[in-house]
Amino acid sequence: MKYQKRQKAIILLADGTIFHGKAVGNKQGTAFGEVCFNTGMTGYQEIFTDPSYYGQLMVATNAHIGNYGTNSEEVESDSIKIAGLIVKNFSYEYSRDIADSSLEDFLDKNNLLAISDVDTRALVSYIRDHGAMNAVISTEVDNIEGLKKQLAEVPKMEGLELASKVSTKEPYYVGDENATYKIAALDIGIKKNILRNLAKRDAYIKVFPYNSKFEDLEAFNPDGYFLSNGPGDPEPLVEAQAVAKEIIKRNLPLFGICLGHQVIALANGVSTYKMYNGHRGINHPVKNLKTGKGEITSQNHGFAVNREEAEAHPDLEITHVHLNDNTVAGIKMKDKNCFSVQYHPEASPGPHDSDYLFDQFIENIKNK
């Protein structure tokens, strides 16, 4: 073993601020995206493969990333979805009996650029104070002006439809076809663990592409409908909103998570907005207003549902709030079999405090 020298790399923010670092594995390249940070201390592989992160340059705040390698089972989709990775300390060496590759190899296989040795804390503080923005990570440390030009052409996240980039092209099935319940899931960026959670509760799921019509879903003859999580702005997702409207109109059991939750709000005429920074981590406190109990939740969203409009809406009830900033974390429709949450009860990564929401969905299906 010998000491490894690493090449220089940078992250350049849209406002011109630069953070210096080193290229992981001495790879060359440049990657663009919206910079965001995740504060989870475990679960990096799940995060990197979560379709909701499509198009984002991920800053991992945990001091070390890669310690336990990667494992083919602990993925949330079939490939890495983040656009680039920024870390403080990158573990080239890992230790875990059931790991099948190092994080470095996993990133390589997915052709993902990562930079390390960045003062991620300074970077996070900067984004916290200046808001989420586009950025570029690159090993072209001497081509700042060129990078700036290219960066200026990257579209803003606001108004950006990304579901089409991550959704399945063809429908597919998950679970046992003889299961008690049939669920139609609209994939606008679905995480595998949602499907595992549903299948575990005796459901057979058909997953539909993002642009499917209600009729397509209905043809499966499902007992319940599910709107998934996903990346980007919910507003341009008019097809998904149309599907939601149809389900609601017919008062069929409907559950939405994250982007799906936002789509349900939009289908009710409640607007969404781009948050200053978003919530990304696995320690977010949510209060269930029905039970008065707290939940520690996994969250990953840069848009949120307008609270005033949701409160004022005659058919909607806010069921969950985020305890740190009082944003809407869950809603239900008063006279309909429909509810949704902004956070991730499927966790992966994150705590299992909100598992009960899947049970509740199954109950809703039973009692329809």
Partner: protein, 950 residues
Amino acid sequence: MPKNSKLKSILIIGSGPIVIGQACEFDYSGTQALRSLREDGIETILINSNPATIMTDPSMADHVYLLPLTTKSIVKILKEHPQIDAVLPTMGGQTALNLCIEADEKGIWKDFDVEIIGVDIDAINITEDREQFRELMEKIGVKMAPQATATSYLEGKTIAQEFGFPLCIRSSFTLGGAGAAIVYEEKDFDELLTRGLEISPIHEVMIDKAMMGWKEYELELLRDANDNVVIICSIENMDPMGIHTGDSITVAPAMTLSDRTFQKMRDMAILMMRSIGDFAGGCNVQFAVSPDDQEDIIAIEINPRVSRSSALASKATGYPIAKIAAKLAIGYNLDELQNQITKSTSALFEPTLDYVIVKIPRWNFDKFEGSDRTLGLQMKSVGEVMGIGRSFQEALHKATQSLEIKRNGLGADGKENKNYDQILEKLQYASWDRVFTIYDAIAMGIPLSRIHEITKIDMWFLKQYEELFLLQKEISTYTIDNLNKELLLEAKQKGYGDRQIAHMLGCLESQVYNKREELGINRVYKLVDTCAAEFKAKTPYYYSTFESDMETTDGKRYADNESVVSDKKKIIVLGSGPNRIGQGIEFDYCCVHGVLAASEAGYETIMINCNPETVSTDFDTADKLYFEPVFWEHIYDIIKHEKPEGVIVQLGGQTALKLAEKLDRYGIKIIGTSYKALDLAEDRGSFSTLLKENNIPYPEFDTAESAEEALKVADKLDFPILVRPSYVLGGQGMKIVINKQELEKHVVDLLRSIPNNKLLLDHYLDGAIEAEADAICDGEDVYIIGIMEHIEPCGIHSGDSNATLPPFNLGDLVMQQIKDHTKKIALALNTVGLINIQFAIKDDKVYIIEANPRASRTVPFIAKAYGEPYVNYATKVMLGDKKVKDFNFNPQLEGYAIKQPVFSFNKFPNVNKKLGPEMKSTGESILFIDSLKDDEFYDLYSRRTMYLSK
């Protein structure tokens, strides 16, 4: 539910004297709890017999009872305060819980209509009764190691036959793993089983199949009355199962756990906490994980109270567990409370870290000659340090630099072990130095796989070590002149001290420092903020690191520093580092009071310390806390950054005092007594000249730097001779020798362990009585705060002797001499602040043994006994804010206060319990008696020569 308005007056039980396994972390938790309850307008009543604590300060609670922790004392308090509504027993360790149970069994709480809050009795009983606990875990589906309980020798033998070896024996209802042992072979089983049964108050041991080599973890939980549970911190033991967690090197957050396994563990912990009872408070759960593809998790134990680990977790995360646990105990729910660091987000959340902490225990095996130095199930360390860094490597380095064991960090300091066989043995039988040995093993070229095979330490940690060594090797190929910025920055980021880098490059420490300056590689400070910078933090709790640069749009390039320097006048107080025998909680008491006094005097106060157990490292104590090694390089950088008016060194024991010389040399102002005076008191030659000039008698003495010189000195002085090294604490290496052979052997021994030391040889006044005085001096006036007389005759270290305040049988003539000498010496040394002087009295003549112009171990005791804030006064005098004559001294004490040392010998079964000039006690308690006719005093007096050596 909001606060329970029925609770208006609460009794808190402290943990008593410091013993191994129960140390000053409970002063921290108790102090936090008292403050927390006060915030809510609740009357607080405290019982604790330990006078060295901050919690027993009159200012901390409405009523402080310095009484023995017995049910008799509890009844007395409850009679005097019938208004007490509830008792909070979870802040004082196992001692407090045990006392609470005893009082419950005797029906005392019921008689006085006192509610137990923060825990329920059933929960304590279930978790302490291993058999019940096991049954419960089985019921809720939590796996445990194969285990059985034995209440007799025969039962134990049968179980051993069934399990096979190795196995673990643990005694029920004991502290810090007392009586616990790993039995590798059948031949050792009988003895260890018998001891385990004897130590248990209920004559019960648990025998477990040893899960040697499994990875060990701890989770810290909080639960409120609404059954919300949060995990405050995950802690990974770098040393796997087989070494007591108090003796393990621990790391937070967990470094090698996947989300899947961590979440499984989290679920189990929550399930376990809910299963043991319905209560609101803190809880600690320990797990083991199999290091194979199964990643099986088994529960080891659960403690329904705040613990050593929760103190560590509080410091590691910035989430004050005890403070919040106290609020939960009085009815608040987590979502009704604020995150104490951000003051804007909810307390119902789980802290996230963007740094790493490493805790390393501090052992004192040198004090227990003949003890088994191998680490195992029974805790043996007396203190701990914590290093915070932006990587595991940096944190590990900072922790090793905090230990004060004359190491500069891992490797590169010329103290590496290069003996192959010894290294292998040291890897196998872990002791205080294994953390260093791993580095030496890698340097020697022993394969990581082999190190892993022997130690079972996770490969990830070993790879981190390896990376460090590879960097050292790389740097060693350079010189100070051609070393580039990148490499030097990387070395600093990985925690190497300038001294170590100088060692690698073959240059001076100052050259490395200058090179850093020149290249702009500067320490920056980051916040411990519970949230990885997601929210703005309000609490100034800092650690140092080295960072890559950022560049603003206007072209400024710098490493981001979060510690903004104010324009207020500032004072730095140097803490006392890790607890050890001879330097413990007393000095933390002094530091905390120094900080508070400086604040009252209008200064911005800055605390530097690295001991996670203490109140001084509570971010609520000073205006700014730097959680840093009390190590020159770190301190100097903070001083340069903050530019304080001066530094207070006389409150932090020998740790802080040792740095005075260098501070003085670098032109940094030492507050109070000057370095010159400090040095004068330590230098026997000049000090005796001073005594001679003042006509003050002292035992005949001389100094020696070799055995040869020592033997010559012996010709002049009569035996017995007291031999001791200079600049040490707690009588380290001090011995009374009676002939030349003994003298030679001891001198040779001493100079081997402390090279280049100047040894002091005193004629030992056989049969003398010892006394000591503490005083405050402003350079003009001297006020003696207290004089204490040792009950045992001369020859036992002052820290180990029972002593009375005021003296019990010193005549007026002797007392007058003590007073005169004290005043003369204090003035002659130009003391500004505190001074402690020790005397030997023979034939009514008072001799000076030594003088220390700094806070001593006895100052907190005297302050408590007289109910006066002496450290506060002394600090204001040091700062020049007040003069001695400005204070209205009014000591209150009826009868006598007796200081009683407390020992932890039960942790070292084979150790000679004989007392001598080297201190061995770990803690102390206070006992008030009305008169000398008191039975307790009579008892102590009649036993006074029992432990005396020679």
